[in-house]
Symmetry: C2
Subunit: 324 residues, 2 copies
């Protein structure tokens, strides 16, 4: 972990040169929660950003156990076999309550990890909604500075943060399990709102027919609502990540979506909007942190939140009391 500004500048140079080891160290700095690392991390990102070349950013989301890692392994190999370099930012599954392996992402995506064109980076999710977005933006910037052609971002689709997760990428794939009803109960409706491409996984063996039925149901449901003008209905595909069927079709759907977004101007707009959201989030956070750093404010806030939630104090009075 670099301790000084000079080290950070060297680190940035290493990232810009495409050095994988330096990139890994840079990401560790950005993900550090030590307050003294924050200034250095910002310096690092600022140094790397001007050299960042836009990659094709793809989000892969879905409930635990749906097969995101297996899909990323297969889709990622499709991408690197086509000659592109790929960085994968994977949520660490061991930190989740349900499902997931404890073997680590490189094991989960062993075949992709074997490619010299791939870089796989597990990220601790820490369970903080929205917290993922903050650091992920910086990590994406570092990967783009390191010259990757594509960046995959894996998120677990169970939170309210899906809007933000979708905003981070150029195309957001939502992976669902076959079957209707019970199997999908764990999935939040909101995630469909932000899906650019929906894929029903595990269309293999005895589940194949159920996957087809689920795809028809989802397609009908999605057909009722258009996300953005001109974007058309959200494509729903079926695939088997395990048997590697439907993987190249999924990649085509992603590329078609992004090409369409580029021609409509929606691609550039989505990136601008995300940069502004990033800035505003950082600004609000900085204002709040500056405010909370004043002596006694933190305890007072907790106390007032309890009173407000219970209905005992009007919010405006609580704010005045806190600011006074």
């Amino acid at each position: 972990m670099p301790e000084a500004r000079r080290d950070v500048d060297r680190l940035a140079a290493g990232v810009l040169a495409g050095d994988r080891l330096e990139l890994a160290r840079a990401i560790t700095l950005v993900e550090s929660e030590l307050p003294e690392h924050r200034e250095l991390a910002e310096r690092l990102v600022e140094a790397a950003l001007p050299g960042a070349r836009p990659s094709l950013r793809v989000g892969v989301s879905g409930p635990p156990g749906v097969g995101k890692s297996t899909l990323i392994d297969a889709l990622g190999r499709h991408v690197v076999d086509g000659g592109r370099s790929l960085a994968v930012l994977a949520v660490d599954p061991s930190s989740h309550v349900t499902g997931g392996s404890v073997l680590g992402d490189k094991t989960r995506m062993s075949r992709l990890a074997a490619s010299s064109r791939s870089f796989i980076r597990p990220s601790p999710s820490r369970g903080v909604l929205g917290g993922i977005a903050r650091r992920t933006r910086e990590v994406i910037a570092l990967c783009e500075a390191a010259g990757f052609d594509a960046v995959f971002v894996e998120t677990v689709g169970v939170g309210q943060s899906e809007h933000e997760a979708a905003g981070l990428v150029d195309s957001f794939i939502v992976l669902v399990a076959p079957g209707s009803g019970d199997e999908l109960q764990g999935m939040k409706r909101g995630i469909l709102e932000v899906a650019d491409v929906v894929a029903v996984n595990k269309a293999d063996g005895i589940d194949r027919e159920r996957a087809e039925q689920a795809a028809v149901g989802l397609s009908n449901a999605l057909g009722l609502f258009s996300r953005t003008a001109g974007a058309g209905a959200t494509p729903v595909l079926i695939l088997s990540a395990l048997e590697e069927r439907g993987v190249s079709e999924l990649w085509s759907a992603v590329e078609t979506f992004v090409a369409g977004a580029k021609s409509r101007g929606a691609y550039a707009e989505r990136r601008s909007r995300d940069r502004l959201a990033w800035f505003r989030g950082e600004l609000e956070r900085a204002l709040r942190e500056r405010f909370l750093a004043a002596p006694g404010v933190g305890e007072k806030l907790g106390e007032l939140e309890g009173l407000v939630a219970a209905g005992g104090v009007a919010p405006s009075r609580a704010v005045r009391e806190l600011l006074g």
Copy 2:
């Protein structure tokens, strides 16, 4: 418009006594955008809040032209005919680009307006997403202080603010037009995520069959995803607000939903969460306003936002520049 604190205290007493005229004046004060009215408005809400009795809060949302006013007129009469008093906070349709009448809400809901137990209040929407929630919370508090048994909040379901709008009320009705595909294209998917009850309106005349088909499609789509544990599938009803068919069934669905939420504890939780969201929103706003009040900050912010959106400046650097 009261100019002094003493007047505000008199106004609060009038609201608490259930005086309609004083309530209308109080709402005008709360909705005023003059900075000098804000302190008085807060004082008013704070004086009224301890006397507020929880009403049954019902949100009615849907795209322009779907028949929200006609439904509220019919549903509202069902409520007041049952002996309850009802306040309706209606979005002013004349301020919208598409659809809506220019005749004002009392004309749109003429039969409900004729009841002595009803109070109808149009609110200018000003087109600011999220801005509705801020003032609406205060106006709901005033209506509850005035003793209304039920409060209806009409919102136009085209924005990103649906999550917040649904959080304001105990039960959120989403009204959709019959037919599938084209007619629903203007509707955002996200609104279904927050619907507690979905109603397909205009199930009359030649549209009846199409309404039934739409209800089946929506029901299938909604059945795939559960919003909250224990809440069950979202009910989908068909009705004709014009012919007043299905209106009492809709009211039963609302009451069933709220009773279920109360027994699960979800009702109290939703209210606490909304009060906390209100407080946090006010706090962030206050911090931002205090910050933006410093000389030169506003212009600097606009300039930096432009640079950040274009990708020319790293967000963290822009924040530091702004705070420095």
